[in-house]
């Protein structure tokens, strides 16, 4: 599920970016383009992936702490940077490579620990209020 969170948001953003490049610049005088954008297949795939991201992110929060899931969302930046490097052949500076290593390290740190803080008494009260 965490892998789905990492990939769906960044790939969804990339599809949206690709689609909006085809649609053209949207400004106050051309708001109608937003409606036109909905018929672009890249935009549609991007929207589906972002809905998938939100669904998996929400589901992950039902069994894991926010501070456990958070690094997975940051990992999206790494995916975008690596896609830029290996798919679009962009140059990555040394500082960006250091950034990638730091985020990968952060994911590793958190993934090695427990996914959820247990609060039996709070969970019991919440369950009663939520159902």
């Amino acid at each position: 599920m965490l892998v789905a969170i990492m990939l769906s948001a960044s790939i969804g953003d990339s599809f949206l970016k690709r689609g909006m490049e085809q649609v053209g610049a949207v400004n106050v005088h051309h708001l109608g383009l937003l409606w036109y954008a909905l018929f672009n297949p890249y935009v549609d795939v991007g929207i589906v992936l972002l809905i998938g991201f939100f669904a998996t992110y929400t589901a992950a929060l039902s069994w894991a702490d926010l501070t456990f899931v958070m690094p997975a969302t940051a990992f999206g930046y790494v995916v975008i940077a690596l896609m830029g490097r290996f798919w679009l052949h962009e140059q990555l500076s040394l500082s960006r490579w250091i950034g990638i290593l730091l985020i990968v390290g952060a994911v590793g740190f958190v993934a090695g620990g427990p996914s959820r803080t247990e609060h039996p008494e709070l969970d019991h009260m919440d369950a009663g209020a939520g159902r």
Partner: protein, 129 residues
């Protein structure tokens, strides 16, 4: 009273980050209140799970905050450079989430998670510069 452009930009960035933190904390709180969605799906099916999520007040408030955050972000980007607003909002949101998770969600944010948050924060700033 007139404020300098720097104050406007700083306020907009703080507002966007605050909305993101509020939204994520409310969604996380709502999900904790509901419990594991897989368990709910076993008893009520997929439709019942979706209804349970969409009728959870905390989740709805959180989702509204995230929607508002999206439009606030558009406004912030109209008055601030992306190279400033992007890293600043991401860093403030991650730090705010960690603090809010500790004090409002009562998560055990131990040394490992603080270290991960700091690495993530510096990493995101370096990547988005």
């Amino acid at each position: 009273m007139r404020f300098s452009p720097g104050v406007h930009v700083g306020s907009a960035i703080l507002f966007v980050a605050a909305l993101a933190v509020l939204g994520e904390v409310m969604i996380a709180s709502g999900m904790r209140q509901l419990g594991d969605l897989d368990d709910i799906r076993e008893s009520r099916g997929l439709g019942g799970t979706i209804v349970a999520v969409l009728t959870n007040a905390r989740f709805v408030i959180g989702a509204l905050c995230m929607a508002l955050n999206f439009f606030a972000m558009l406004f912030a980007l109209s008055i601030a450079n992306l190279s400033l607003a992007g890293p600043a909002i991401a860093a403030l949101t991650y730090m705010g989430n960690a603090v809010a998770a500790k004090f409002f969600l009562r998560e055990r944010v131990d040394r490992r998670r603080w270290l991960a948050t700091m690495c993530m924060l510096v990493g995101v700033v370096l990547l988005t510069r």
